[in-house]
Amino acid sequence: MYENYLALIPFFPLLAFLLNSVLVKNKLNNVQAGLITFMGLFTSFILVILLSLHVQESGPVHVKLWDWMEYKNIVFDIHFVMDQLSVILCLMVTGIGSAIAFFSIGYMDHEEKVGKFFAFFALFAFSMLLLVLGENFLVLFMGWEGVGLSSYLLIGFWYEHKKNGDAAKKAFLANRVGDFGVVLGMIGYALVFKTLSFRDLQHPDLAIIAANKELLIGSSLLLVLGVTGKSAQIPLFIWLPDAMMGPTPVSALMHAATMVTAGIFLLCRVSNIIVHFSVVLDVIAWIGALTSLLAALIAITQTDIKKILAYSTVSQLGYMVMACGLGAFSTGLFHVFTHAFFKALLFLCAASVIYGCHHEQNIFKMGGLKKKMPVTFWTFVVGFLAIAGIPGFSGFFSKDEILSMAFSNPGNGIFLYVVGLISALITAFYMTRMLVLVFIVEPSHDVHDSHEHHVKEHDEHNSHEIHESPSVMTIPLVILALCSFAAGYVGMPHLFGGHEYSRLFQSFVEKFTPAATGHHHVSEETEIVMMVVTTVLILCSMGLAYYIYVKNDKVKMRDRLKEKFLSLWIISNELFKVDELYETVIYKPLYKVGHFLVDIVEALVINGAVKGVTKAVDGSGKFLEETKPEKLEMGILYIVIGATIIVTLIFSEFTFR
């Protein structure tokens, strides 16, 4: 019975996709289209809950649908599994997904092509479920590219604007660079272990690992490349901020709560292998730490509400990746879990704000929304406290555990700790900035942006009344706010929960992933001191942001800030241009190579060779033609000589054979 449930989980979103895209399209109004997708996700959500109870009691559930291909003894099959890892991701995808689908019914109310939007939404959910439910690398990869494709479709949803199309393409290409790594890494694993099934990869043969060390390290690093693509890490993070071109609920779902966490999920899936290679772990940890810092730095000077959140997502993903690199996979996944709630919440609040402000996205043009949008404001505050890591809120527990893992890690853990701490402080700073500018400070209408040309200009709307969003949008906000507050309590440290209630989440996950080992023991006193210090620092950082942005007049303040922190300002603004660097260093030169190949190699060398042969034949023909009148027999003689040589060669071959 549970097997059937499992097979049905991805089926319902698929059905919603088919209904919205093919079967009943054009016959539905916007709300009906939205309800179909919502129901598809919600039905799956209920099934996931049923299964998750079962999994907790009696272990993983498997269902094998059909064989896709086989090679020697390796069977590539379409095979789903619900185990300790997929349960968590499934709950997030279907649960948060339903909330966001419900929210979108309100948000997309006045748009055109809503059926298409909800079709893509359902397709995304389907692909994501394939990704997390896949029992082997092949199904995972189908979902992996499926989410890339559906996110491409959703980013380019308003395809009439060229920049949306470009953003979609960029996202797809960056993801494809990662996929290049995943395909090769997956093949490498298949060749070594003779299997792609995660059940087998969970208990790899140590002798095989030792014997194929180099190939495995190479393959693992290739997989890490895939992780950097999907989870927006250095060097492939450039696509995520641009992905904000899509409808905002989409950003909430994919680019915050689910799709981008696929990379961390993949790391957890292969955790039992990569944990044997300290090189790989170090690379992962440093990629994560540096991404976290870099993205936080960029976020400080962004003015688009969605881009700030996008960079904060990149930064938080860096945290998760760093946790995996520290060998604490369950902790990384715990942060995935808490982050999913508060980031979905923050994005939906942003969507609500954007909806309320008639598609204004520049935080400097907002302000004073606290009174006008009370529900959005208070739910946003919860999300804000969670992401900043204020004790009691979910983000605190996961972030704190990552930091303490870094602190107690032998080797260069202390450096990672410092980097992590700094980015936590910066996070608190820019989130406060955003909160203050959007909700608290009164708006000033005489702001003239010179350089934020990427922000949509909708000045004519400013005269309209700003209003709170309808309840179809605020209900999901409240639900997510409650979760953002509470989600952390499933993974409390020993300090708070004692042995009975602490680390429930982590120990559940550690039935699949290896537990973090090799860490120093940190005494409880140290732990308390660290928590207090971190919290105090975060409060200071928030206070600083509050002081700067509340106590100062908005317009002058920016100039003053620029003067005071000129270098920091420049750095933050320049880092933002990493993608331009890629464009000049890789994309354009490669295009030039293409031109070179067409204009020079193709035209001169390859076609030239053909022409050369033609000329030679032509020339010899002419030669014969010219000699014809005088000595016809000469021509015949040539032919006879040629034929004789060939025949002699042939027969000499036989004679000496």
Partner: protein, 494 residues
């Protein structure tokens, strides 16, 4: 031996002759006749395959003996591989007839005559197992296509058709020369010039370095087939031919004729020249990998949409030739699958181009843009086929590329990694194509009033899209057809 074989085999030819006697004025009747003919051909191809007792082995269908003519025999036989390609060929004929249903030309009868003779010649070379029979049909294929391009083609059709004809024929000459040599050898051994499949097998050509017979003959055959596939750097005729060819020519050329080169390798090279294949394998693998990258980069900078698709074919065929020469069973299986996948996605792209061309009479991509707004049906179908072409998992394009990459990776990691860059490069040019045509704003006034595809026009694209998804999800539908033959094509001891 199949008594009715000759009739089944000659159906396309008989149908082609029928067009000569068709009434000239009644266009509709001619078109219907063509549609029925294509359906019948497809049905018989499928039936011939289904009648095979064992798709894993060559089953002799017909033997044509000519005692007065040097004791030659022409044998026709079929196994899973030739059956699969036979069905693909007939299927594409039907696709072509439906796609170009609205064709407006004075020479309608000639058009269909050429299509059916071309199909017949391809069927012939797929079924012939005596080398001379194969060679005759191989050459016969050139003529209808030559006329098709030369008569119905674009502005520069003369140059393109001659170039295509001469380059392929030049390769054939090499093949013919080595056949003469082999015949002489066969005469010495058996007292007959006949080059039957068994005879070729028994020749056992000596291999000792480059100048030995096996190696020379291997290269003669290989160059003939390289030119057909075409493998980098023998591809220079392909873009010209595609650009100038009418849609029917492009579809059949990309869909099936290029695969004949690969088929030639599988049928007449791999099993017979094992040492040479082993010795020169790496060269061919690198040529394939270079072709993947070269085709992708050159496709990227094209402005003409047909040229872009033509160069993308070079990239895809690079994968296939690598798969074949890796001699890894998995990769060979993938290569054959990729032939089918490419035979679905590239014709699909050409059909899309055809509809754009019939509406706007241009193939320059910058003349389009924003078509998704006015032609939503086209945009969706074109996207599905594009996705298949850029090997998104769950489409047929992924299956073959994945299997080939995996198989080659086992053998030679450098080549596999080079080829895998195709994963990154294929969306670069395909998405460029899609974005320039379908997405963005409508910048040209003429495009604002374009009509969406009619149901008839959409049908071939719908069928191809459905196949794209179906084969991506359940590739065994196709692999089951030729699974048993793989051992035969991975002969050289791996």
């Amino acid at each position: 031996m199949d008594q009715l074989f000759l009739i089944k085999f000659l159906i396309p030819l008989l149908w082609a002759i029928g067009f000569i006697f068709a009434p000239k004025q009644n266009e509709r009747a001619i078109k219907l006749f063509a549609l029925i003919g294509a359906t019948v051909v497809l049905a018989y191809s499928a039936k011939m395959f289904l009648d095979l007792p064992n798709p894993g082995a060559l089953t002799e269908l017909f033997k044509f003996e000519m005692p007065l003519f040097f004791n030659m025999t022409y044998t026709f036989a079929m196994d899973g591989l030739s059956g699969l390609l036979l069905i693909l060929n007939s299927f594409l004929l039907l696709v072509v007839v439906v796609t170009t249903w609205e064709i407006k030309t004075e020479k309608l009868r000639l058009y269909y005559f050429l299509l059916f003779t071309l199909t017949w010649a391809v069927n012939g070379s797929l079924l012939a197992t005596s080398l001379y029979g194969f060679y005759i049909f191989w050459e016969a294929m050139l003529i209808p296509l030559f006329i098709l391009v030369g008569v119905f083609g674009g502005e520069n059709r003369r140059y393109a058709s001659f170039k295509f004809f001469m380059m392929t024929a030049a390769g054939s000459i090499l093949m013919l020369a080595s056949m003469c040599y082999m015949s002489a050898l066969a005469y010495k051994l058996n007292g007959s010039y006949d080059l039957n499949y068994e005879v070729i097998k028994s020749l056992n050509l000596r291999y000792s370095g480059f100048w030995s017979p096996q190696s020379l003959i291997f290269w003669a055959f290989s160059i003939a087939f390289f030119l057909k596939v075409p493998v980098f750097p023998f591809h220079s005729w392909l873009p010209d031919a595609h650009v100038e060819a009418p849609t029917a020519g492009s579809i059949l050329l990309a869909g099936i004729l290029l695969k004949l080169g690969i088929y030639g390798f599988l049928r007449f090279v791999i099993p017979f020249y094992p040492q040479a294949v082993d010795a020169y394998r790496d060269i061919v693998l690198y040529l394939g990998a270079i072709g993947v990258i070269y085709g992708a980069l050159t496709a990227w900078v094209q402005k003409d949409i047909k040229k872009l698709v033509a160069f993308s074919s070079i990239s895809h065929m690079g994968y296939i030739i690598m798969g074949v020469f890796s001699q890894n069973p998995f990769a060979v299986k993938g290569a054959i699958f990729q032939m089918v996948a490419h035979g679905i996605s590239t014709p699909g792209l050409f059909i899309g181009v055809h509809y754009l061309y019939t509406r706007r009479h241009t193939k320059k991509m910058d003349q389009f843009g924003g078509l998704a707004k006015v032609m939503p049906r086209f945009a969706v179908l074109f996207f599905l086929i594009t996705a298949g072409s850029m090997a998104v998992p769950m489409t047929c394009g992924f299956v073959g590329e994945f299997m080939i990459t995996a198989g080659v990776y086992e053998l030679n990691k450098v080549v596999a990694i080079l080829a895998a860059t195709g994963i990154i490069l294929s969306p670069v040019y395909l998405l460029k194509m899609y974005h320039l045509t379908a997405l963005g704003e409508i910048t040209h006034e003429e495009n604002k009033s374009l009509e969406d595809l009619s149901l008839l026009e959409a049908t071939p694209m719908i069928v191809l899209s459905v196949l794209t998804i179906l084969l991506g999800l359940y590739p065994k539908l196709v692999t089951a057809m030729y699974e048993g033959t793989i051992n035969f094509f991975t002969h050289s001891g791996l």
